[in-house]
Subunit: 316 residues, 3 copies
C-alpha cells in the first residue's frame, strides 16, 4: 500500500480517478446516506502542528465512511516532549492504526515517516513542503465549477512565497495545461526555483502585482492569507498586510463562471460581501475537503468506491 | 430543521414531549441496550469555552445512539487564533456535520451561529445568556422525582446574579406554575429585570438570605456554586464564599420527597454527607444530561424515538 | 464487576486466561478482521496526567472491538481546576460510561475511584503506584517470545527506583518463578522494601551495576528510560543519564532467543542499530498494548472472547 506524500505520487489519470470517486461520495459526505465502507478501520491523526480544517475534515471523512479515528492530541503533552523521535512515534502509531494522516512543521517529515511505516501515510502538510490533500480538494472544486481541469486561466493571489498550498496547486495545474498568473507584492512573490521548475514543465506564467488587471480573464481567482507569523519584522508585515482585498464590486468585470477560492481561514483578503455572489466557492471548497479525503482514504486502504451511490438508499 | 437557542424555542407541550422521549431513552443511556438511531450522523462539538460535563454528556448522548462526534478541540490552537470569524468557522463546520453543539463566551453567539448555519445549533451555553439543554435536564430531574413540573416549591440558592443556569430554569419553572424562592446574599441576588420579567409571566416569588427558613416547605432546593472567577475583588468573594453550606443535619426539617440539585461542579456548597441522604439528586441530575441531550439530538435531527424501548432487546 | 487496580487483583490462572484471550484477539488488533464485541459500550478515558501510548492504545483497543471512547480531555481546562474533587468527577463519568481507564499522579487514586464507582476502573498508572495493564502487555510479549512465563532469567535495567513499571513487572515475574537481575546505578537501585517483599515471595534476585555481565544469560533484557523529571538536581541526573546504552554489538554474546524490551519512549538507552536485530521487541511490545487492553476490557465488561477468531471472517 502506497502513501500520498506529494502530488507526484499520483499520475494525471489517478488524479481524475480520485476526483471521480470523490464526486460519487458527495451524498455520503452530505449525510444523505450512510455507507460504512471503512468500518473497522482506524485512522491515526498525527498533527504535530495544530490544524482545525484539515484535522476535522479527515475525522469527518473517516466517520462518514464508518471508520474510526485515534488522535495524538496535543503534541505539547505527548511523548515528543520526553524526547521520543518521530521514527519511534511512527513505529508505535502504525501498530495502532490502519492509516495515518500527519501534519508536521518539518519539510520532509511525511516522507521520512512513510519510509519506516507499515501503514500508508497521508501527508497533511509538512512545513514548507507539500499538502497534497489540499491540492486534491482544490482540483475537485475547480473541476466541479468548470467541468474540466484543462486549459483554465488561474490567478494565484497573495503570499506565494511561503504558501505550500499554492506551490502544490501550481504544479498540479500545470500538469493539466492551465495558464497561471501569480499576483503578489515583490516580497511575497513565487520563488524563482519554483517558477523555473514550472516552466520546465511547459507552464505559461505571468507575474503581476495588480490584482484588478487579472479579474476579467480569470476562470479561477485563488486568494491566500498573508500569514503574520511568517514575518520576522512587524513593519514589513504591515507594508503588505491587506494589500489585496477582494470585494463584490471588484468582481463586476469577471466572467460569469469565474470562481473565487481560498484555503481558509481568511482574514481580510475577501470581503464578506463576496460571500453572496455567484463567484464565492471557498465554503464549498472547505466542504470538498471531506469528499476528497474520503476518496483518498478509500484508495490508500484499497477499498473500492461503488460506481453508483444513491442519496437515500446506500450502495446500489 | 430548527435550532435550540433558548427555552422559548419550545412550547410547554414540546418540553413535555422531549422529557417523555428522554424517559424512554433511559435504558439506552444506561447502556442496558444499544439503539443506533443516529447511526451515520455527526455532531460537531464547538466548545469555545472549556466544559467537562456538557461536552462529555453530548458526546455520550451521540455515541449511545450510534452517532459520531467531531470536536473543535482546544480553541487556543484553532484557526480562531489566526483571526477566523465565528461566521466563517460555522460555514466550515456545518459542512462537516449534521448538527452542532456550541458553547461560547459571548451572549448571543449561538443565535448568531444559527442564523447562518445550514444545520441545527444546540446552544450549550452562551456567556451570560442561555443554557437550554441544562434547563431540560434540570426539568427532567424534577419531574422524575415529583411526577410533575406543576405547582412545585423550588428554592434557588447561591449565585443568582451571574448564573445563566438559574435564569433559564426560573423562566421555565414559572411557565409550569412553580413557586420560586430566591436565596442569596444581597450582592448575588437575582437581577431586577429578570424578577420583573418573571412576575410579568405570573410568577410567585419570595427573596431571602436565610437558607434554613426555606428547607421545610421546599420540593426542590437547587444549589449553585459561587464562582470565584466572577469577582473582580478577592475580598468581596471571601465575604460570600461558603455563605451557604448544606449538610445532612440541615435537612431534617425537609419534606420526605424534597430533592437537592446542583449543576456541578460543587465546591463546598453541599457537604459530602448529603450524598447518602434520600434527598441528593445531583449525580442523577448529571447523568440525566445524557438522556435529555439524546432526546434533543433526536428531535433536532428529525429522528423519531420509539414508543417502547426494552432494556435488553433494543427497539420493540 | 471488578476493577483492575493492581496485579494482585488477578490470580496466576486469570493472568494466563487474559493472555490467552489477548492472543486470540491478535487478528482483530491487526485490523485483519472486525469483531464488534463491545458495540454500544463506552470507555471513559480519564487521564489526569498526559500519556500518549497508554491513552492511544486504550482508544484503539476499544474501537477495534466496535466500542466508543469519551475523553476527559485536557485536565488543565477541566472542572478539576474549578475545584471538583476526584470523587465527584467519578460520580459524573461513571454515569456517562460503561468502564473507565484512568491515569492519575497520586498513588492510590485508582483504588479510591474504584471504591465509589459503579463501573469498573482500569488503573492506567497511579503515580508511584501500579500500572497493571502495562505489566499485562509486558507479560504477553515475554510469553509470545518464550512460549512460557515460567523460570526465565529477566534483567531489569536503568531506573529501578522511580519506575512503577518495573516494580509491577517484578512482582508478576516472581509469581511465575522467574529469576531477576536488577541492573542500575546505586542512586537508582530497586527500593529495599520492594526487594524484601519480592524475597518473601521466594524471589531469586541479583543486583549489579554492570549491564554487560548479564547479557549472556538473560532471556529478557528490560530497559527503562532514566527520567530527567525525577531528579531535583541537574548534576545528579547528568551523572547517571546515559549510563546504560545498549547497541547491536553489545548483544553478540546474547542467547539467540533473548529479547530486548522497553516501555517506551526511549531516549538513548537503546541505539537505533538494535532495532534491526532479532532481539528487538519494544515496538511489538507497544503494539501488544492493544491486545492486552482488548482482553482486559472484555473481561471487565463480562464479554466473552470467542475461542477461535479467523483473520478474515470474523467470529467462527
Amino acid at each position: 500500500m502506497a502513501s500520498l506524500i506529494t502530488m507526484d505520487d499520483l499520475t494525471n489519470e489517478e488524479i481524475i480517478e480520485v476526483l471521480d470517486n470523490a464526486e460519487r461520495l458527495l451524498p455520503v459526505a452530505r449525510g444523505e446516506t450512510y455507507l460504512p465502507l471503512l468500518e473497522g478501520k482506524i485512522l491515526g491523526n498525527l498533527f504535530f502542528e495544530p490544524s482545525t480544517r484539515t484535522r476535522m475534515s479527515f475525522e469527518t471523512a473517516m466517520k462518514r465512511l464508518g471508520g474510526e479515528v485515534v488522535n495524538l492530541g496535543d503534541v505539547k503533552t505527548s511523548s515528543v516532549v520526553k524526547g521520543e523521535t518521530l521514527f519511534d512515534m511512527i513505529q508505535m502509531v502504525d501498530g495502532y492504526t490502519d492509516i495515518i494522516a500527519m501534519r508536521h512543521p518539518r519539510q520532509g517529515a511525511a516522507q521520512y515517516a512513510s519510509d519506516s511505516a507499515r501503514v500508508p501515510i497521508l501527508n497533511g502538510g509538512d512545513g514548507a513542503g507539500h499538502h497534497p490533500t489540499q491540492t486534491m480538494l482544490d482540483l475537485f472544486t475547480i473541476r466541479q465549477a468548470h467541468g474540466t481541469l484543462e486549459g483554465l486561466n488561474v490567478a494565484l493571489v497573495g503570499d506565494l512565497r511561503f504558501g505550500r498550498t499554492v506551490h502544490s496547486l501550481s504544479h498540479a495545474l500545470v500538469r493539466f495545461g492551465c495558464t497561471l498568473t501569480f499576483v503578489s507584492p515583490e516580497s511575497l512573490s513565487m520563488p524563482d526555483e519554483i517558477i523555473s521548475d514550472l516552466k520546465r514543465h511547459g507552464a505559461d506564467i505571468t507575474e503581476t502585482a495588480d490584482l484588478s488587471s487579472v479579474i476579467p480573464s480569470a476562470d479561477v481567482i485563488y486568494m491566500t492569507r498573508i500569514q503574520k507569523e511568517r514575518f520576522p519584522d512587524e513593519d514589513e508585515y504591515a507594508r503588505v498586510a491587506g494589500i489585496f482585498k477582494l470585494c463584490a464590486a471588484d468582481l463586476s468585470p469577471a466572467k460569469g463562471g469565474m470562481i473565487v477560492m481560498h484555503p481558509l481561514p481568511r482574514v481580510s483578503e475577501i470581503s464578506p460581501d463576496v460571500d453572496n455572489t455567484k463567484h464565492a466557492r471557498y465554503f464549498e471548497q472547505a466542504f470538498n475537503g471531506v469528499v476528497a479525503r474520503m476518496s483518498l482514504l478509500c484508495r490508500l486502504l484499497n477499498v473500492e468506491v461503488p460506481a453508483i451511490i444513491s442519496s437515500n438508499g446506500g450502495e446500489n
